[in-house]
Symmetry: C2
Subunit: 342 residues, 2 copies
């Protein structure tokens, strides 16, 4: 190990609108020698996720805001380069919520071991990790899709949406995806087996949607908010359920997010909507992970990853989420492992 320093990405301004390079700083740090029970981790992959935009604001929410002049953090896959814990050895692959840094020095209990023989390790940041479980609990606990019902998901080609549609199919429901390009629409229908998909960027979106949900909408899993959701809500059936996961359409919008009030539609259809975050299911995560792993092993869950190479590209990858440049899970590949053979 000739490396003596590494870089971290710190938030230095609270962005207005789309985050720019000027809102962040690459900060160089020395690699310290680790103490008892600590691990030195080399980042292999890091996850960029839309919810991080919310944490860049200085407002109380379900997770604390990122602090200024401190590192960003999120889901990370890393290799243990040095360990002063009995539980880990050099070459182990681990995951946890870690700093956006080329290296992390952490307490051993801050990470969990990843078994590379079960599935490609990157699935632990996607279909078998936070985004897959978000799809699982939101759809099944709030949406409760029944066989024969129509489930619509927005952001359908993204990390969460692509899994939502597939779980809906596993439950015998009809899956209709909304995405932002004809390529994504093709992917949803032809690769993932959605029953229909529509491109919200087309002028014909509202008509296309109506045709795709001719029997109305029973479950709407909403990742995007904004005008796309306004259109879906007009198609809700009686006793429908709207699962609120994200409003990515407004995250970079500094103006107030105005639209038609929706309460009347929920009254006239006796429908329900509920927001959630994965933290609501902290005590049930293991159950979900077991069922998701089972479906995955059985080949019932397909997934896609969009991987940008290079720690320098992290901000570009993050901004790409809001332009829909990702198919499936957006990851940044930071480095190859030094010891582990994957």
């Amino acid at each position: 190990m000739a490396v003596k320093t590494y870089r971290e990405i710190h938030l230095i301004n609270r962005p207005e609108g789309t985050p720019t390079d000027q809102d962040f700083a690459f900060v160089e740090k020395d690699i310290p020698s680790i103490k008892e029970n600590e691990l030195l981790l080399k980042t292999l992959y890091l996850s960029v996720d839309p919810y991080m935009r919310g944490r860049m604001r200085d407002v109380k929410s379900y997770v604390a805001p990122y602090k200024l002049n401190e590192p960003m953090n999120g889901g990370v896959l890393a290799e243990v380069l040095d360990s002063k814990s009995d539980r880990f050895q050099q070459g182990d692959i681990v995951t946890g919520t870690l700093n956006w840094g080329e290296y992390n020095i952490v307490q051993a209990n801050a990470v969990q071991k990843v078994d590379p023989s079960i599935a490609p390790i990157t699935t632990r940041l996607g279909v078998l990790g936070m985004t897959g479980l978000t799809a699982y609990f939101g759809l099944l606990d709030i949406g409760k899709p029944q066989a024969g019902e129509t489930v619509v998901v927005s952001g359908a080609a993204g990390a969460v949406g692509s899994i939502v549609g597939q779980i809906a199919k596993l439950k015998g429901a009809r899956a209709v995806g909304i995405a932002g390009s004809d390529e994504k629409v093709d992917y949803l229908v032809n690769e993932l087996g959605f029953d229909a998909a529509v491109n919200y960027k087309k002028d014909s979106f509202e008509d296309d949607l109506k045709k795709a949900v001719a029997d109305g909408v029973d479950v709407y899993f909403d990742n995007v908010g904004g005008p796309v959701s306004d259109a879906v809500i007009l198609e809700l059936n009686r006793n429908s359920r709207v699962v609120l996961c994200g409003t990515i359409s407004s995250y970079n919008n500094p103006a107030e997010d105005l639209g038609p009030r929706i309460q009347w539609k929920f009254i006239t259809t006796s429908s329900m909507m509920k927001g959630f975050t994965l933290g609501d299911y902290a005590s049930e995560l293991k159950t979900g992970a077991v069922e998701m792993a089972k479906w995955f092993q059985e080949g019932k869950l397909k997934y896609e990853e969009t991987i940008i190479e290079g720690f320098d590209q992290t901000l570009e990858a993050f901004r790409g989420l809001f332009e829909g440049s990702n198919l499936g899970k957006q990851l940044v590949k930071v480095a190859d492992p030094e010891i582990a053979k994957l």
Copy 2:
């Protein structure tokens, strides 16, 4: 019975904005002789309710629209003047969904008998009728108030809202009312025992609301929609429940009802909102009616009625709902009974 004719109120135009006299016609009809199993009913009181505005539109909803050139209908209390059914005799008091007419000729199974010895008969159109049960099921089944929680209700001095706050108190919750005058605010706190109430027509409304719900809002029972609800939603606590009963603020508004999108707040607080109408609880109405009657007999439910005299005043009474001119249940007294001694 010298009377040979009676009047009905027919809808003749679908109103734009506030319904005018020109949207309705008083139509004179002959009183026919009744046939086997029919009743001739004399209307004593009729109920005017905000939901009726929705039925004046020609749109699919949870109840069919009123038909043009046919009588309006709704909750009515009437006296049996003539009966060709074994189940009813002259002088019986009955209630049902009947035409807005000075008389009704109906099949015997269209009405239920009202026992005037249990409670004033008008309670069957309010606290012990549809509006009381709407408060009961919406608050208890959707809102699920827990002891110590804060329940906010808009339209709090109306027929539904005034009961919602009192049931919240019976469940050990803190009740906060929103109403449109200082007199109503006084009534809620000093007569009905609400813990606090605020006047939404004051410039200080948003500040007043924040003070009244210093610990946030756990349950919001919404009768009004619009900017009042926008303000309440900003104060929602984690895991709060919003009960959608009505959006009276927009019923007479011909323009699109625009406002801030609210999905983000439901996500960051894992909150839920659900619309309903009393029809959702058709199979449980009896259970609710029994518990409401018990509370009423125990003196735990106070109620107020605003009674306008004269069938001619029906449209004025209906329009008054949207100006907040009613305290509690708005009724029209059409006639005194001819036979029954109440």
